[in-house]
């Protein structure tokens, strides 16, 4: 245990911690702000909002995206909505309730103070986004509409049709664009971060590779913010975009940043089942569909009738049966496992018997097709485009798929990693969701980190650097890291083996999905921990990357990302192995109740596991941050 895991939680009662922090933090005065350069990697919700706000405040900001434009970041694909404790519906919502729901939803594995802050600023986010022109759904009276989401008994989710993520990201992108246009932020596009450089115990900058020219160079800064998203693509098949990867976070980890709870991965219950073996990615159908859709499977595994012909008595509405009070709105992990149980029992539907029905017949009968079209029209269209079946006529088929990763870089209350000067925001950090994220909370967290947390919490670190010189790109640590990166990329080209990066990614994904997916066992994880290094060794011997390193080469980009997924995959399995309990997205078959629910072990595992890089990916060093619960008392999560 050599990482310093001081969470820096402020003093005071829970509800006052954040205001105490703001009141007492060190500030940087406006004329000094321009002396500091901040690098923001990633332009999703967290990255774009942070960069825009830093720019507004007067810092020198440089922002990096590997896409052609900041607007492409994968935050754009979030469909359902964003939570906020506005209580506009007058149904009993409050900051405390959102805080409580999030801690409980996270299965008591998140840091209370962070979650409370998230709930507090959630209300500012909605105000901010409306002021920016985000066209949230409205009632006829002109006021904002809300819908309910899994894991909550109030309607606190704001949405913009099925494109909430898109609208929020475009809002943040437009604020960022304004700052770029004004000259306050510099944008580097089609550039990937490939390393972090630390000098004298603080993060001094990053090394990047230009995807168009292959040029590797360094960028020095006072502080670096990683807003580089999650690592769900470790599973190969996931709802993440094709380019989502762990490289930035992983390279930071290799340079000393602790990686927390990598085994907490969220499997989203409502995705379109895989149709064939070539499939490149899975598509999510918003969880909001569960508001009006009823999930069922035929009772008889050998059922052959079309869905509409199966009489009520022969259907098993298993969520409504097992969880009567939450029903089809049970949290994601709970409903995912229930679907898996049904499919494993042979009750699956569809040509490959790999899905369950999400049926809108009742809702269409009750509300009319117009209302359903108004609410979910674009999702239904998307489903039909992908499957060729109309959900108005026959039930959707859905199955869980990897969707979000709660784990990530360990950060303290200030969102600073274990490397001073290196911050992590959004999905890239581990902080707010514990072992399971509630629906519509990812957008909330990304924007909260970027707009309302980092702009405050980065100041104390910067104020200590005032008028102290920082090393520039000519420092030998930078040149050494650049050379290392060049060698690494040349190395992939030089292997000259026989198999493509995609081949290895698919094989790796299969191992991780089989043994570290929806349910995990000790034996399976042990097996994965022997298979992944073997496959990684083969990767290093038999990889083939065609093309060259000085023009755009997507095969080469992919090779480097897959390489990092291998090392991360080992860490995920290792983390899942040592966490001998079931909680949230981490379900160990050995640890379950008689009814098949997750069995937590609060005495031994109410901690964050932050892994430290040892130089050997098979033997990382375990560090722990004990979680203290002052307000919310441990309770078995029940959604019955």
């Amino acid at each position: 245990m050599t990482l310093n895991l001081d969470s820096k939680i402020p003093e005071g009662p829970m509800a006052e911690k954040w205001s105490n922090y703001i009141a007492e933090q060190k500030l940087v005065n406006p004329s000094n702000k321009r002396k500091f350069k901040i690098i923001v990697v990633g332009t999703g919700l967290a990255g774009a909002s942070a960069a825009a706000t830093f720019g507004e405040l007067g810092y020198q900001v440089e922002t990096f995206t590997f896409h052609d434009s900041p607007r492409r970041a994968h935050s754009i694909a979030a469909q359902g909505g964003i939570n906020a404790a506005k209580n506009y519906q007058g149904d009993g919502d409050s900051v405390h309730r959102l805080f409580y729901d999030t801690v409980k939803g996270g299965d008591f594995r998140s840091r209370e103070a962070n979650v409370h802050r998230l709930a507090e600023v959630s209300v500012n986010i909605i105000d901010q986004m409306v002021a920016q022109g985000v066209p949230f759904a409205r009632e006829y009276g002109g006021l904002l509409d809300n819908r309910s989401f899994g894991g909550a008994q109030v309607s606190r989710t704001f949405y913009a049709r099925g494109q909430t993520g898109q609208q929020l990201l475009l809002g943040a992108y437009q604020q960022l664009s304004r700052q770029i246009g004004l000259g306050n932020v510099k944008l580097w596009n089609r550039i990937e971060m490939v390393d972090v450089v630390n000098i004298d115990g603080r993060c001094a900058g990053i090394v990047t590779r230009d995807l168009m020219t292959g040029e590797v160079r360094s960028h020095a800064a006072h502080a670096v913010v990683l807003a580089t998203g999650g690592y769900g693509n470790a599973f190969f098949l996931s709802t993440n975009a094709m380019a989502c990867n762990v490289t930035a976070a992983w390279r930071a980890h290799r340079r000393g940043a602790g990686f927390a709870n990598p085994c907490y991965t969220q499997i989203h219950p409502t995705c379109i089942p895989q149709a064939d073996e070539f499939q490149s990615k899975l598509t999510l159908m918003s969880e909001s569909l569960r508001n009006d859709g009823r999930i069922w499977v035929p009772k008889d595994p050998d059922e052959t009738r079309p869905a509409a012909d199966v009489p009520e008595d022969d259907r098993d509405y298993y969520l409504e049966r097992i969880y009567p009070s939450f029903g089809n709105l049970a949290p994601r992990d709970v409903s995912s496992r229930a679907a898996k149980r049904a499919v494993d029992a042979g009750q699956g539907v569809g040509p490959l018997k790999n899905g369950v029905y999400l049926d809108f017949a009742d809702a269409i009968g009750r509300l009319g097709q117009d209302v359903i079209e108004e609410r979910y029209g674009n999702l239904f269209d998307m489903y039909e485009r992908i499957t060729g079946e109309s959900p108005y006529e026959r039930p959707m088929r859905i199955y869980p798929a990897s969707h979000y990763t709660m784990g990530g870089l360990w950060v303290d209350y200030e969102l600073q990693t274990t490397v001073p000067g290196l911050f992590a925001a959004g999905e890239a950090n581990f902080s707010d969701h514990g072992a399971n994220r509630l629906g519509a909370s990812a957008l909330m967290q990304g924007l909260s980190d970027g707009y309302f947390v980092l702009p405050y919490t980065i100041a104390p670190y910067l104020s200590n650097l005032l008028n102290k010189p920082i090393p520039d790109e000519t420092h030998e640590a930078f040149t050494a890291a650049e050379q290392e990166a060049r060698d690494r990329y040349q190395g992939y080209l030089d292997i000259g083996g026989t198999k493509s990066p995609d081949h290895f990614h698919r094989e790796l994904g299969k191992i991780i999905w089989d043994y570290c997916g929806m349910s995990r066992t000790e034996a399976g994880l042990q097996k994965a921990l022997s298979e992944i290094p073997a496959l990684h060794a083969e990767f290093k011997k038999d990889l083939r990357v065609t093309g060259d390193g000085h023009s755009l080469n997507q095969t080469l980009e992919k090779a480097a990302r897959v390489d990092d997924f291998f090392e991360l995959g080992m860490l995920m399995c290792k983390d899942a192995l040592v966490r001998e309990e079931s909680c949230g997205g981490h379900f160990r078959d050995e640890y379950q109740t008689d009814e098949g629910e997750a069995l937590r072990d609060d005495d031994d595992f109410a901690h964050v596991t932050a892994w430290e890089w040892s130089g050997d990916p098979e033997n990382p060093i375990e560090n722990r941050e004990q979680l203290e619960y002052e307000v919310v008392k441990f309770a078995t999560r029940s959604y019955k």
Binding site: P135, L143, A160, M242
Partner: protein, 257 residues
Amino acid sequence: MTTLTNITLKIWRQDGPEGQGRFETHQIPQISDEASFLEMLDILNERLIEENKEAIVFDHDCREGICGTCSLMIDGQAHGPQKGTATCQLHMRTFESGDEIVIEPFRATAFPIIKDLMVDRAPFDRIVEAGGFITAPTGGAPDANLIPIPKPVSDSAMDNAACIGCGACVAACPNGAASLFTSAKLTHLNLLPQGQAERFKRAETMVETMEEYFGSCTNHGECESACPKEISIDSIAVMNTDYRKSKIKNRKALSRR
């Protein structure tokens, strides 16, 4: 699930922005009709790597039709034959066995080819930077429900805000105009009460930045038909009105200073 056979692909290959391009022909002997169009290209790329050839470069990311990264002219249509669908959501069931499919990059002077099928769409960002925003610095926002917005106005703003910035409108336009892209953003922001303060400044700066890069609108309507989000060219009329007004209003505002 059925299998398509004997698909012939004619694909544009180009080494770099300056390179001389050419069509390359590839055969796809078999492909499932459940496969997406881009999965077919993935499979082809796997085969090319197996044959020790360079994979075909094409832009893509979310594969859910929302990020706007994918492009491609497929058989002379931006995003291919299916209406209201981006290339990444196009599935092989739209095609038939024995088809010859021609794939070309989006072409416009403002969208130079980077490599093969990938083009640079940076001018879209320049247009947004010029005025495609509402100035709302973090922290100063009033309560979200302070200003009610009539639902039809909000819905109409949303219709326009759905733009994914893919550039199909430019690619499909016989004139290489970006009027639909620009007017969609302009209409989204100019309809909302929050966007009124900067309404005419926005119209002026966005249109003039657009004109630095793109052609002019002659009302063919190809953009609307190619748009994966089916944004209406009525927005272009809104833009034309607001631009005209902006020329007068901005002058009036300036002359009063």
